[in-house]
Protein backbone atom coordinates (compact mmCIF):
# COMPACT_ATOMS: atom_id res chain seq x y z
CA UNK A 1 0.00 0.00 0.00
CA UNK A 2 2.51 2.50 1.20
CA UNK A 3 5.20 0.98 -0.96
CA UNK A 4 5.38 0.57 -4.70
CA UNK A 5 5.48 -3.01 -6.12
CA UNK A 6 9.23 -2.68 -6.73
CA UNK A 7 9.79 -1.64 -3.14
CA UNK A 8 7.67 -4.56 -1.84
CA UNK A 9 9.77 -6.88 -3.98
CA UNK A 10 13.00 -5.53 -2.46
CA UNK A 11 11.65 -5.94 1.09
CA UNK A 12 10.37 -9.48 0.46
CA UNK A 13 13.66 -10.42 -1.20
CA UNK A 14 15.67 -9.01 1.71
CA UNK A 15 13.66 -11.03 4.23
CA UNK A 16 13.99 -14.21 2.14
CA UNK A 17 17.73 -13.74 1.63
CA UNK A 18 18.36 -12.99 5.31
CA UNK A 19 16.26 -15.92 6.56
CA UNK A 20 17.94 -18.39 4.24
CA UNK A 21 21.38 -16.99 4.96
CA UNK A 22 20.99 -17.25 8.74
CA UNK A 23 19.08 -20.54 8.91
CA UNK A 24 21.45 -22.32 6.54
CA UNK A 25 24.58 -21.09 8.32
CA UNK A 26 23.24 -21.75 11.86
CA UNK A 27 24.18 -25.45 12.17
CA UNK A 28 27.66 -24.80 10.78
CA UNK A 29 28.12 -21.77 13.04
CA UNK A 30 27.05 -23.82 16.08
CA UNK A 31 29.50 -26.57 15.16
CA UNK A 32 32.39 -24.14 14.61
CA UNK A 33 31.54 -22.36 17.88
CA UNK A 34 31.56 -25.71 19.71
CA UNK A 35 34.91 -26.65 18.23
CA UNK A 36 36.41 -23.25 19.08
CA UNK A 37 34.97 -23.29 22.60
CA UNK A 38 35.76 -26.88 23.51
CA UNK A 39 38.29 -28.23 21.03
CA UNK A 40 41.99 -28.37 21.66
CA UNK A 41 43.88 -28.78 18.43
CA UNK A 42 46.77 -27.39 16.47
CA UNK A 43 45.78 -24.48 14.25
CA UNK A 44 42.86 -23.33 16.40
CA UNK A 45 44.07 -19.75 16.18
CA UNK A 46 44.13 -20.06 12.40
CA UNK A 47 40.55 -21.37 12.26
CA UNK A 48 39.48 -18.60 14.62
CA UNK A 49 41.16 -16.03 12.36
CA UNK A 50 39.54 -17.45 9.21
CA UNK A 51 36.10 -17.34 10.81
CA UNK A 52 36.57 -13.71 11.79
CA UNK A 53 38.03 -12.63 8.45
CA UNK A 54 34.73 -11.37 6.92
CA UNK A 55 34.33 -9.13 9.97
CA UNK A 56 37.62 -7.31 9.42
CA UNK A 57 38.07 -7.41 5.63
CA UNK A 58 36.47 -4.77 3.39
CA UNK A 59 33.12 -6.26 2.21
CA UNK A 60 34.16 -5.63 -1.38
CA UNK A 61 37.08 -8.01 -0.90
CA UNK A 62 34.80 -10.70 0.52
CA UNK A 63 32.41 -10.19 -2.40
CA UNK A 64 35.19 -10.38 -4.93
CA UNK A 65 36.60 -13.57 -3.37
CA UNK A 66 33.10 -15.09 -3.48
CA UNK A 67 32.86 -14.12 -7.14
CA UNK A 68 36.21 -15.77 -7.88
CA UNK A 69 35.28 -18.98 -6.03
CA UNK A 70 31.52 -19.26 -6.62
CA UNK A 71 31.19 -17.44 -9.97
CA UNK A 72 30.23 -19.39 -13.10
CA UNK A 73 33.86 -20.07 -13.89
CA UNK A 74 35.02 -20.25 -10.32
CA UNK A 75 36.21 -23.70 -9.16
CA UNK A 76 33.46 -24.23 -6.58
CA UNK A 77 30.76 -22.45 -8.60
CA UNK A 78 31.42 -24.49 -11.74
CA UNK A 79 31.47 -27.74 -9.75
CA UNK A 80 28.19 -27.00 -7.93
CA UNK A 81 26.47 -25.91 -11.15
CA UNK A 82 27.53 -29.03 -13.06
CA UNK A 83 26.96 -31.55 -10.27
CA UNK A 84 23.90 -30.26 -8.43
CA UNK A 85 22.60 -27.52 -10.69
CA UNK A 86 23.08 -24.99 -7.90
CA UNK A 87 24.00 -21.57 -9.23
CA UNK A 88 25.02 -18.65 -7.06
CA UNK A 89 26.22 -16.09 -9.57
CA UNK A 90 23.76 -13.22 -10.10
CA UNK A 91 20.97 -15.11 -8.29
CA UNK A 92 19.23 -14.43 -5.00
CA UNK A 93 20.98 -17.56 -3.67
CA UNK A 94 24.26 -15.74 -4.20
CA UNK A 95 22.93 -12.79 -2.20
CA UNK A 96 22.04 -15.24 0.57
CA UNK A 97 25.54 -16.76 0.43
CA UNK A 98 27.15 -13.32 0.70
CA UNK A 99 24.86 -12.33 3.57
CA UNK A 100 25.52 -15.64 5.32
CA UNK A 101 29.29 -15.29 5.05
CA UNK A 102 29.21 -11.73 6.37
CA UNK A 103 27.00 -12.67 9.35
CA UNK A 104 28.90 -15.87 10.16
CA UNK A 105 31.54 -14.41 12.52
CA UNK A 106 28.90 -12.60 14.57
CA UNK A 107 26.89 -15.79 14.93
CA UNK A 108 29.90 -17.91 15.87
CA UNK A 109 31.05 -15.33 18.39
CA UNK A 110 27.74 -15.15 20.24
CA UNK A 111 27.28 -18.93 20.33
CA UNK A 112 30.88 -19.53 21.38
CA UNK A 113 30.57 -17.15 24.32
CA UNK A 114 27.43 -18.86 25.54
CA UNK A 115 29.01 -22.32 25.22
CA UNK A 116 31.98 -21.14 27.26
CA UNK A 117 29.56 -19.88 29.91
CA UNK A 118 27.98 -23.34 30.39
CA UNK A 119 28.90 -24.88 33.75
CA UNK A 120 30.73 -28.04 32.75
CA UNK A 121 30.04 -29.54 36.15
CA UNK A 122 26.41 -29.85 35.04
CA UNK A 123 27.61 -31.98 32.12
CA UNK A 124 29.59 -34.16 34.54
CA UNK A 125 26.39 -34.55 36.57
CA UNK A 126 24.51 -35.63 33.44
CA UNK A 127 27.18 -38.22 32.68
CA UNK A 128 26.98 -39.60 36.21
CA UNK A 129 23.24 -40.00 35.62
CA UNK A 130 23.84 -42.17 32.58
CA UNK A 131 23.75 -39.71 29.71
CA UNK A 132 26.42 -40.37 27.07
CA UNK A 133 28.22 -37.51 25.32
CA UNK A 134 25.53 -37.03 22.64
CA UNK A 135 22.61 -37.23 25.09
CA UNK A 136 24.42 -34.83 27.44
CA UNK A 137 24.82 -32.35 24.61
CA UNK A 138 21.17 -32.39 23.61
CA UNK A 139 19.67 -32.64 27.11
CA UNK A 140 21.94 -30.24 28.99
CA UNK A 141 24.40 -28.23 26.87
CA UNK A 142 22.12 -27.24 24.01
CA UNK A 143 19.20 -25.99 26.16
CA UNK A 144 21.63 -23.91 28.23
CA UNK A 145 23.21 -22.46 25.07
CA UNK A 146 19.86 -21.66 23.46
CA UNK A 147 19.78 -17.97 24.48
CA UNK A 148 23.25 -17.54 22.95
CA UNK A 149 22.17 -19.22 19.73
CA UNK A 150 19.15 -16.93 19.58
CA UNK A 151 21.28 -13.84 20.15
CA UNK A 152 23.75 -14.96 17.47
CA UNK A 153 20.95 -15.61 15.02
CA UNK A 154 19.39 -12.19 15.51
CA UNK A 155 22.76 -10.46 15.13
CA UNK A 156 23.46 -12.35 11.93
CA UNK A 157 19.95 -11.66 10.64
CA UNK A 158 20.36 -7.92 11.24
CA UNK A 159 23.74 -8.03 9.54
CA UNK A 160 22.24 -9.90 6.56
CA UNK A 161 19.42 -7.35 6.24
CA UNK A 162 21.99 -4.58 6.00
CA UNK A 163 24.63 -6.34 3.92
CA UNK A 164 25.63 -4.25 0.91
CA UNK A 165 29.26 -4.37 -0.27
CA UNK A 166 29.80 -8.10 -0.65
CA UNK A 167 26.36 -8.59 -2.22
CA UNK A 168 26.70 -5.90 -4.90
CA UNK A 169 30.21 -7.09 -5.77
CA UNK A 170 29.27 -10.76 -5.96
CA UNK A 171 25.79 -10.79 -7.49
CA UNK A 172 25.35 -7.20 -8.74
CA UNK A 173 22.17 -5.13 -8.33
CA UNK A 174 19.40 -6.86 -10.29
CA UNK A 175 15.84 -5.76 -9.38
CA UNK A 176 13.69 -8.73 -8.39
CA UNK A 177 16.67 -11.10 -8.16
CA UNK A 178 19.49 -9.63 -6.09
CA UNK A 179 18.27 -6.16 -5.26
CA UNK A 180 17.80 -6.28 -1.49
CA UNK A 181 16.70 -3.28 0.60
CA UNK A 182 20.13 -1.61 0.92
CA UNK A 183 20.80 -2.12 -2.77
CA UNK A 184 17.40 -0.66 -3.68
CA UNK A 185 18.06 2.36 -1.46
CA UNK A 186 21.43 2.79 -3.15
CA UNK A 187 19.80 2.54 -6.58
CA UNK A 188 17.24 5.25 -5.69
CA UNK A 189 19.96 7.57 -4.45
CA UNK A 190 21.61 7.32 -7.85
CA UNK A 191 18.45 8.56 -9.64
CA UNK A 192 17.69 12.31 -9.53
CA UNK A 193 14.38 13.08 -7.78
CA UNK A 194 13.95 9.64 -6.16
CA UNK A 195 14.49 10.90 -2.63
CA UNK A 196 10.99 9.93 -1.49
CA UNK A 197 11.24 6.18 -2.27
CA UNK A 198 14.77 6.11 -0.83
CA UNK A 199 13.49 7.65 2.40
CA UNK A 200 10.51 5.27 2.51
CA UNK A 201 12.79 2.24 2.22
CA UNK A 202 15.12 3.71 4.83
CA UNK A 203 12.19 3.88 7.27
CA UNK A 204 11.21 0.30 6.39
CA UNK A 205 14.79 -0.80 7.01
CA UNK A 206 14.81 0.86 10.42
CA UNK A 207 11.44 -0.73 11.27
CA UNK A 208 12.62 -4.22 10.32
CA UNK A 209 15.80 -3.89 12.40
CA UNK A 210 13.86 -2.64 15.41
CA UNK A 211 11.31 -5.43 15.06
CA UNK A 212 14.09 -8.02 14.95
CA UNK A 213 15.70 -6.58 18.10
CA UNK A 214 12.42 -6.45 20.03
CA UNK A 215 11.49 -9.97 18.92
CA UNK A 216 14.86 -11.31 20.01
CA UNK A 217 14.57 -9.58 23.38
CA UNK A 218 11.11 -11.10 23.97
CA UNK A 219 12.24 -14.54 22.81
CA UNK A 220 15.38 -14.43 24.97
CA UNK A 221 13.30 -13.51 27.99
CA UNK A 222 10.85 -16.33 27.31
CA UNK A 223 13.66 -18.85 26.86
CA UNK A 224 15.46 -17.52 29.93
CA UNK A 225 12.36 -17.97 32.03
CA UNK A 226 11.90 -21.45 30.70
CA UNK A 227 15.43 -22.56 31.52
CA UNK A 228 15.42 -20.76 34.84
CA UNK A 229 18.24 -18.32 34.15
CA UNK A 230 16.26 -15.07 34.40
Amino acid sequence: MLLSPEEWTALALSLRVSLWATLASLPLAALVALVLARGRFLGKTLVNGLVHLPLVMPPVVTGYLLLLAFGRRGPIGAFLAETFGIVFAFRWTGAALAAGVMGFPLMVRAIRLSIEAVDRRLEAAARSLGAGPVATFFAVTLPLVLPGILAGWVLAFAKAMGEFGATITFVSNIPGETQTLPLAIYAFTQVPGADTPALRLTLVSIAVSMAALVASELLARAVGRRIGIV
Partner: protein
Amino acid sequence: MTLDVDVRHRLGAFTLAARFRAEAGITVLFGRSGAGKTSLVDILAGLVRPQEGRVIVDGVTFVDTELGVFLPAHKRRVGYVFQEGRLFPHLTVRQNLLFGRWFTPRAERWGDLGHVTELLGIGHLLARRPAGLSGGEKQRVAIGRALLRSPRLLLLDEPLAALDEARKAEILPYVERLRDEIGVPIVYVSHSLAEVARLATTVVALNAGEVAACGPAAEVLAGVALAPLGYGESGAVVEARVAAHEAEAGLTRLESPVGQLRVPRLALAPATPVRLRIPARDVMVALASPADISALNVLPGTVVAVRTVSDAVADVTLACGQGHIVARITRYSVERLRLAPGVAAHAVVKSVVFEGGATAGATLGFAVTAVEAG
Protein backbone atom coordinates in the same frame (compact mmCIF):
# COMPACT_ATOMS: atom_id res chain seq x y z
CA MET B 1 28.50 -55.48 48.30
CA THR B 2 32.20 -55.03 48.32
CA LEU B 3 34.14 -52.02 47.20
CA ASP B 4 37.69 -52.77 46.24
CA VAL B 5 39.87 -49.74 45.53
CA ASP B 6 43.57 -49.50 44.79
CA VAL B 7 44.50 -46.42 42.78
CA ARG B 8 47.38 -44.04 42.24
CA HIS B 9 46.80 -40.70 40.59
CA ARG B 10 49.03 -37.66 40.34
CA LEU B 11 47.57 -34.16 40.05
CA GLY B 12 50.34 -31.59 39.90
CA ALA B 13 52.27 -31.81 43.13
CA PHE B 14 49.54 -33.88 44.80
CA THR B 15 49.61 -37.65 44.65
CA LEU B 16 46.65 -39.78 45.57
CA ALA B 17 47.60 -43.33 46.51
CA ALA B 18 44.61 -44.99 48.09
CA ARG B 19 43.96 -48.62 48.76
CA PHE B 20 41.07 -49.96 50.77
CA ARG B 21 38.21 -52.43 50.88
CA ALA B 22 34.75 -51.73 52.20
CA GLU B 23 31.65 -53.84 52.73
CA ALA B 24 27.96 -52.89 52.67
CA GLY B 25 26.59 -49.95 54.63
CA ILE B 26 28.01 -46.45 54.74
CA THR B 27 31.69 -46.07 54.03
CA VAL B 28 32.86 -42.66 55.15
CA LEU B 29 35.88 -41.12 53.43
CA PHE B 30 37.17 -38.92 56.17
CA GLY B 31 39.91 -36.31 56.11
CA ARG B 32 40.73 -32.63 55.92
CA SER B 33 40.17 -30.48 52.85
CA GLY B 34 42.80 -31.33 50.29
CA ALA B 35 43.26 -34.88 51.58
CA GLY B 36 42.08 -36.23 48.22
CA LYS B 37 38.54 -37.20 49.16
CA THR B 38 36.79 -35.61 46.17
CA SER B 39 39.43 -36.86 43.73
CA LEU B 40 38.86 -40.36 45.02
CA VAL B 41 35.08 -40.06 44.64
CA ASP B 42 35.51 -38.65 41.12
CA ILE B 43 37.56 -41.74 40.31
CA LEU B 44 34.81 -44.00 41.70
CA ALA B 45 32.24 -42.14 39.57
CA GLY B 46 34.37 -42.31 36.43
CA LEU B 47 34.72 -38.55 36.07
CA VAL B 48 38.47 -38.86 36.59
CA ARG B 49 40.51 -41.63 35.06
CA PRO B 50 43.22 -42.83 37.46
CA GLN B 51 46.70 -43.15 36.04
CA GLU B 52 47.19 -46.50 37.70
CA GLY B 53 45.19 -49.04 39.66
CA ARG B 54 41.77 -50.62 39.82
CA VAL B 55 38.28 -50.09 41.18
CA ILE B 56 35.95 -53.07 41.54
CA VAL B 57 32.40 -52.66 42.81
CA ASP B 58 30.43 -55.79 43.57
CA GLY B 59 32.41 -57.82 41.08
CA VAL B 60 32.05 -55.23 38.30
CA THR B 61 35.41 -53.84 37.19
CA PHE B 62 35.08 -50.06 36.78
CA VAL B 63 38.77 -49.48 36.17
CA ASP B 64 41.75 -51.73 35.75
CA THR B 65 44.67 -49.99 34.14
CA GLU B 66 46.62 -53.22 33.86
CA LEU B 67 43.85 -54.88 31.84
CA GLY B 68 43.11 -51.61 30.05
CA VAL B 69 39.55 -51.54 31.37
CA PHE B 70 37.78 -48.20 31.86
CA LEU B 71 34.02 -48.13 32.19
CA PRO B 72 32.85 -44.60 31.24
CA ALA B 73 30.91 -42.63 33.86
CA HIS B 74 27.57 -42.98 32.11
CA LYS B 75 27.79 -46.76 32.07
CA ARG B 76 28.62 -47.27 35.75
CA ARG B 77 25.19 -46.77 37.27
CA VAL B 78 26.67 -44.87 40.19
CA GLY B 79 24.55 -42.18 41.84
CA TYR B 80 26.61 -39.08 42.62
CA VAL B 81 25.40 -36.32 44.94
CA PHE B 82 27.71 -33.36 44.54
CA GLN B 83 28.70 -30.84 47.18
CA GLU B 84 26.81 -28.10 45.36
CA GLY B 85 23.83 -30.13 44.18
CA ARG B 86 24.34 -29.40 40.48
CA LEU B 87 20.66 -29.52 39.62
CA PHE B 88 19.84 -28.73 36.00
CA PRO B 89 18.53 -25.14 36.00
CA HIS B 90 16.49 -25.59 32.83
CA LEU B 91 14.47 -28.52 34.16
CA THR B 92 11.78 -28.75 36.82
CA VAL B 93 12.38 -30.74 40.00
CA ARG B 94 10.38 -33.57 38.50
CA GLN B 95 12.42 -33.56 35.28
CA ASN B 96 15.63 -33.40 37.32
CA LEU B 97 14.53 -36.39 39.36
CA LEU B 98 13.64 -38.46 36.31
CA PHE B 99 16.75 -37.51 34.31
CA GLY B 100 18.73 -40.64 35.16
CA ARG B 101 15.74 -42.89 34.61
CA TRP B 102 15.78 -42.30 30.84
CA PHE B 103 19.19 -43.89 30.70
CA THR B 104 18.54 -46.84 32.99
CA PRO B 105 17.35 -50.08 31.37
CA ARG B 106 13.87 -51.01 32.57
CA ALA B 107 15.05 -54.29 34.09
CA GLU B 108 17.57 -52.50 36.29
CA ARG B 109 15.28 -49.79 37.63
CA TRP B 110 14.50 -50.10 41.31
CA GLY B 111 14.13 -46.42 42.13
CA ASP B 112 10.49 -45.39 42.19
CA LEU B 113 9.47 -41.72 41.91
CA GLY B 114 6.64 -42.00 44.43
CA HIS B 115 8.74 -43.82 46.99
CA VAL B 116 11.75 -41.53 46.60
CA THR B 117 9.76 -38.29 46.83
CA GLU B 118 8.01 -39.64 49.92
CA LEU B 119 11.27 -40.80 51.49
CA LEU B 120 12.90 -37.41 50.95
CA GLY B 121 9.81 -35.31 51.57
CA ILE B 122 9.99 -33.47 48.23
CA GLY B 123 6.59 -34.37 46.75
CA HIS B 124 5.37 -30.77 47.00
CA LEU B 125 8.37 -29.43 45.01
CA LEU B 126 7.91 -31.44 41.81
CA ALA B 127 6.61 -28.58 39.64
CA ARG B 128 9.19 -26.04 40.86
CA ARG B 129 12.52 -25.10 39.31
CA PRO B 130 15.84 -25.45 41.17
CA ALA B 131 16.34 -21.65 41.29
CA GLY B 132 13.42 -21.36 43.71
CA LEU B 133 14.55 -24.03 46.19
CA SER B 134 16.31 -23.62 49.52
CA GLY B 135 19.75 -25.19 50.04
CA GLY B 136 18.34 -28.13 51.98
CA GLU B 137 15.62 -28.74 49.39
CA LYS B 138 18.17 -28.66 46.57
CA GLN B 139 20.31 -31.26 48.29
CA ARG B 140 17.34 -33.55 48.90
CA VAL B 141 16.35 -33.28 45.23
CA ALA B 142 19.96 -34.06 44.27
CA ILE B 143 19.86 -37.17 46.46
CA GLY B 144 16.55 -38.19 44.90
CA ARG B 145 17.93 -37.66 41.40
CA ALA B 146 20.89 -39.92 42.17
CA LEU B 147 18.58 -42.57 43.69
CA LEU B 148 16.28 -42.65 40.66
CA ARG B 149 19.28 -43.65 38.60
CA SER B 150 18.82 -46.94 40.51
CA PRO B 151 22.52 -46.94 41.38
CA ARG B 152 24.59 -49.92 42.46
CA LEU B 153 26.64 -47.48 44.52
CA LEU B 154 25.69 -44.08 45.90
CA LEU B 155 28.36 -41.39 46.30
CA LEU B 156 27.70 -38.43 48.58
CA ASP B 157 30.44 -35.79 48.44
CA GLU B 158 30.04 -33.65 51.55
CA PRO B 159 26.36 -33.17 50.77
CA LEU B 160 25.95 -31.11 53.93
CA ALA B 161 29.02 -28.88 53.60
CA ALA B 162 27.14 -25.90 52.17
CA LEU B 163 24.32 -26.10 54.70
CA ASP B 164 23.83 -24.61 58.15
CA GLU B 165 23.27 -26.74 61.25
CA ALA B 166 19.48 -26.70 60.97
CA ARG B 167 19.58 -27.84 57.35
CA LYS B 168 22.12 -30.55 58.21
CA ALA B 169 19.77 -31.85 60.87
CA GLU B 170 17.08 -31.87 58.18
CA ILE B 171 19.10 -34.04 55.75
CA LEU B 172 20.93 -36.51 58.02
CA PRO B 173 17.86 -38.58 58.93
CA TYR B 174 17.24 -39.08 55.20
CA VAL B 175 20.76 -40.42 54.70
CA GLU B 176 20.15 -42.86 57.55
CA ARG B 177 16.90 -43.92 55.92
CA LEU B 178 18.78 -44.63 52.69
CA ARG B 179 21.07 -46.94 54.61
CA ASP B 180 18.34 -48.62 56.61
CA GLU B 181 15.41 -48.75 54.16
CA ILE B 182 16.91 -48.92 50.70
CA GLY B 183 20.10 -50.75 51.55
CA VAL B 184 22.12 -49.18 48.74
CA PRO B 185 25.84 -49.12 49.55
CA ILE B 186 26.96 -45.56 50.18
CA VAL B 187 30.30 -43.81 50.04
CA TYR B 188 30.01 -40.65 52.09
CA VAL B 189 32.69 -37.97 52.06
CA SER B 190 33.02 -35.86 55.18
CA HIS B 191 35.46 -33.88 57.24
CA SER B 192 33.14 -33.76 60.23
CA LEU B 193 33.89 -36.16 63.04
CA ALA B 194 30.29 -35.84 64.22
CA GLU B 195 28.93 -37.00 60.85
CA VAL B 196 31.40 -39.89 60.77
CA ALA B 197 30.47 -41.04 64.26
CA ARG B 198 26.79 -40.85 63.43
CA LEU B 199 26.73 -42.51 60.01
CA ALA B 200 29.76 -44.65 59.36
CA THR B 201 29.83 -48.41 59.12
CA THR B 202 33.35 -48.34 57.71
CA VAL B 203 35.74 -45.42 57.97
CA VAL B 204 38.52 -44.71 55.49
CA ALA B 205 40.65 -41.92 56.92
CA LEU B 206 42.61 -40.05 54.24
CA ASN B 207 45.61 -37.88 54.94
CA ALA B 208 47.58 -36.11 52.18
CA GLY B 209 46.35 -38.51 49.53
CA GLU B 210 47.02 -41.67 51.49
CA VAL B 211 44.84 -43.97 53.53
CA ALA B 212 45.84 -43.34 57.13
CA ALA B 213 43.39 -45.84 58.56
CA CYS B 214 40.59 -48.07 57.36
CA GLY B 215 38.19 -50.31 59.20
CA PRO B 216 34.95 -50.58 61.18
CA ALA B 217 33.83 -47.19 62.48
CA ALA B 218 34.21 -47.90 66.17
CA GLU B 219 37.74 -49.23 65.70
CA VAL B 220 39.05 -46.41 63.56
CA LEU B 221 37.41 -43.72 65.65
CA ALA B 222 38.82 -45.18 68.85
CA GLY B 223 41.55 -42.70 68.18
CA VAL B 224 44.27 -45.28 67.73
CA ALA B 225 44.50 -44.54 64.06
CA LEU B 226 43.26 -40.98 63.99
CA ALA B 227 45.57 -39.63 66.64
CA PRO B 228 48.51 -39.08 64.27
CA LEU B 229 46.27 -36.95 62.06
CA GLY B 230 46.08 -34.51 64.92
CA TYR B 231 42.36 -33.81 64.77
CA GLY B 232 42.47 -32.64 68.34
CA GLU B 233 39.15 -34.31 68.74
CA SER B 234 40.03 -37.96 69.14
CA GLY B 235 37.77 -40.12 71.17
CA ALA B 236 36.18 -43.54 71.33
CA VAL B 237 32.91 -44.39 69.64
CA VAL B 238 30.84 -46.87 71.56
CA GLU B 239 27.66 -48.64 70.49
CA ALA B 240 25.49 -48.97 73.60
CA ARG B 241 21.91 -49.77 74.47
CA VAL B 242 19.63 -48.61 77.24
CA ALA B 243 19.65 -51.20 80.04
CA ALA B 244 17.44 -49.69 82.72
CA HIS B 245 16.35 -46.47 84.37
CA GLU B 246 17.15 -45.61 87.97
CA ALA B 247 14.13 -43.51 88.73
CA GLU B 248 15.15 -42.33 92.19
CA ALA B 249 18.61 -41.13 91.14
CA GLY B 250 17.31 -39.75 87.85
CA LEU B 251 19.87 -41.80 85.93
CA THR B 252 19.85 -44.22 83.02
CA ARG B 253 22.08 -47.30 82.88
CA LEU B 254 23.62 -48.14 79.53
CA GLU B 255 25.07 -51.48 78.54
CA SER B 256 28.09 -51.17 76.24
CA PRO B 257 31.15 -53.12 75.09
CA VAL B 258 33.35 -51.04 77.38
CA GLY B 259 31.17 -51.79 80.38
CA GLN B 260 28.21 -50.30 82.18
CA LEU B 261 27.76 -46.52 81.93
CA ARG B 262 25.43 -44.34 83.98
CA VAL B 263 24.17 -41.09 82.50
CA PRO B 264 21.44 -38.60 83.40
CA ARG B 265 18.05 -40.03 82.53
CA LEU B 266 17.32 -40.53 78.83
CA ALA B 267 13.77 -40.52 77.51
CA LEU B 268 14.32 -43.83 75.73
CA ALA B 269 12.79 -47.24 76.21
CA PRO B 270 15.03 -50.04 77.51
CA ALA B 271 16.94 -51.91 74.75
CA THR B 272 17.04 -48.78 72.52
CA PRO B 273 20.44 -48.59 70.78
CA VAL B 274 22.46 -45.40 71.17
CA ARG B 275 25.82 -44.43 69.75
CA LEU B 276 28.15 -42.58 72.11
CA ARG B 277 31.39 -40.78 71.67
CA ILE B 278 33.66 -40.48 74.65
CA PRO B 279 36.02 -37.56 73.96
CA ALA B 280 39.59 -38.38 74.94
CA ARG B 281 39.98 -35.09 76.79
CA ASP B 282 37.12 -36.05 79.12
CA VAL B 283 38.75 -39.28 80.27
CA MET B 284 41.19 -39.53 83.21
CA VAL B 285 43.41 -42.48 83.99
CA ALA B 286 43.87 -43.94 87.44
CA LEU B 287 46.05 -46.89 88.47
CA ALA B 288 43.89 -47.94 91.41
CA SER B 289 40.13 -47.81 91.38
CA PRO B 290 39.48 -44.39 92.87
CA ALA B 291 37.25 -44.35 95.93
CA ASP B 292 35.34 -41.24 96.97
CA ILE B 293 35.18 -39.69 93.51
CA SER B 294 32.28 -37.81 91.95
CA ALA B 295 32.57 -39.46 88.57
CA LEU B 296 30.07 -42.29 88.16
CA ASN B 297 31.80 -44.19 85.43
CA VAL B 298 35.06 -45.84 86.31
CA LEU B 299 35.96 -48.61 83.90
CA PRO B 300 38.72 -51.12 84.60
CA GLY B 301 40.98 -51.97 81.68
CA THR B 302 44.45 -52.42 80.30
CA VAL B 303 46.65 -49.94 78.48
CA VAL B 304 47.14 -51.10 74.87
CA ALA B 305 48.87 -48.07 73.35
CA VAL B 306 50.43 -44.77 74.28
CA ARG B 307 50.80 -42.26 71.46
CA THR B 308 52.54 -38.95 71.79
CA VAL B 309 50.39 -36.10 70.46
CA SER B 310 52.66 -33.18 71.26
CA ASP B 311 55.52 -32.29 73.58
CA ALA B 312 53.16 -32.18 76.51
CA VAL B 313 50.25 -34.42 75.64
CA ALA B 314 49.71 -38.11 74.86
CA ASP B 315 46.72 -40.29 73.98
CA VAL B 316 46.44 -43.45 76.03
CA THR B 317 44.26 -46.21 74.62
CA LEU B 318 42.77 -48.61 77.12
CA ALA B 319 41.05 -51.88 76.35
CA CYS B 320 37.99 -51.97 78.59
CA GLY B 321 35.69 -54.97 78.37
CA GLN B 322 35.18 -55.65 74.66
CA GLY B 323 35.93 -52.10 73.53
CA HIS B 324 38.43 -49.28 73.60
CA ILE B 325 38.56 -45.97 75.39
CA VAL B 326 41.02 -43.18 74.63
CA ALA B 327 42.27 -40.77 77.29
CA ARG B 328 44.17 -37.59 76.49
CA ILE B 329 46.51 -36.87 79.37
CA THR B 330 49.86 -35.14 79.88
CA ARG B 331 53.07 -36.94 79.06
CA TYR B 332 54.16 -36.04 82.54
CA SER B 333 51.32 -38.18 83.93
CA VAL B 334 52.18 -41.01 81.56
CA GLU B 335 55.69 -41.09 82.99
CA ARG B 336 54.61 -40.60 86.58
CA LEU B 337 52.10 -43.46 86.41
CA ARG B 338 54.47 -45.52 84.24
CA LEU B 339 51.72 -46.14 81.72
CA ALA B 340 52.76 -48.57 79.00
CA PRO B 341 51.06 -51.36 77.07
CA GLY B 342 50.02 -54.11 79.45
CA VAL B 343 49.60 -51.92 82.51
CA ALA B 344 46.29 -52.32 84.29
CA ALA B 345 44.48 -49.01 84.79
CA HIS B 346 41.07 -47.47 85.21
CA ALA B 347 39.42 -45.06 82.82
CA VAL B 348 37.47 -42.35 84.62
CA VAL B 349 34.87 -41.06 82.19
CA LYS B 350 33.74 -37.52 82.90
CA SER B 351 31.28 -37.09 80.07
CA VAL B 352 29.61 -38.87 77.23
CA VAL B 353 28.40 -37.40 73.95
CA PHE B 354 25.38 -38.87 72.22
CA GLU B 355 25.68 -39.07 68.46
CA GLY B 356 22.00 -39.78 67.92
CA GLY B 357 21.73 -43.20 66.36
CA ALA B 358 18.97 -44.33 64.05
CA THR B 359 16.39 -44.38 66.82
CA ALA B 360 17.82 -42.04 69.40
CA GLY B 361 18.15 -39.33 66.76
CA ALA B 362 14.50 -38.42 66.93
CA THR B 363 14.60 -37.84 70.67
CA LEU B 364 18.03 -36.39 71.16
CA GLY B 365 18.36 -34.50 67.95
CA PHE B 366 21.56 -34.36 66.01
CA ALA B 367 22.97 -31.39 67.84
CA VAL B 368 25.43 -33.12 70.09
CA THR B 369 24.11 -33.37 73.63
CA ALA B 370 26.92 -33.41 76.12
CA VAL B 371 25.94 -35.06 79.34
CA GLU B 372 27.98 -34.51 82.45
CA ALA B 373 27.96 -37.83 84.20
CA GLY B 374 30.47 -36.88 86.85
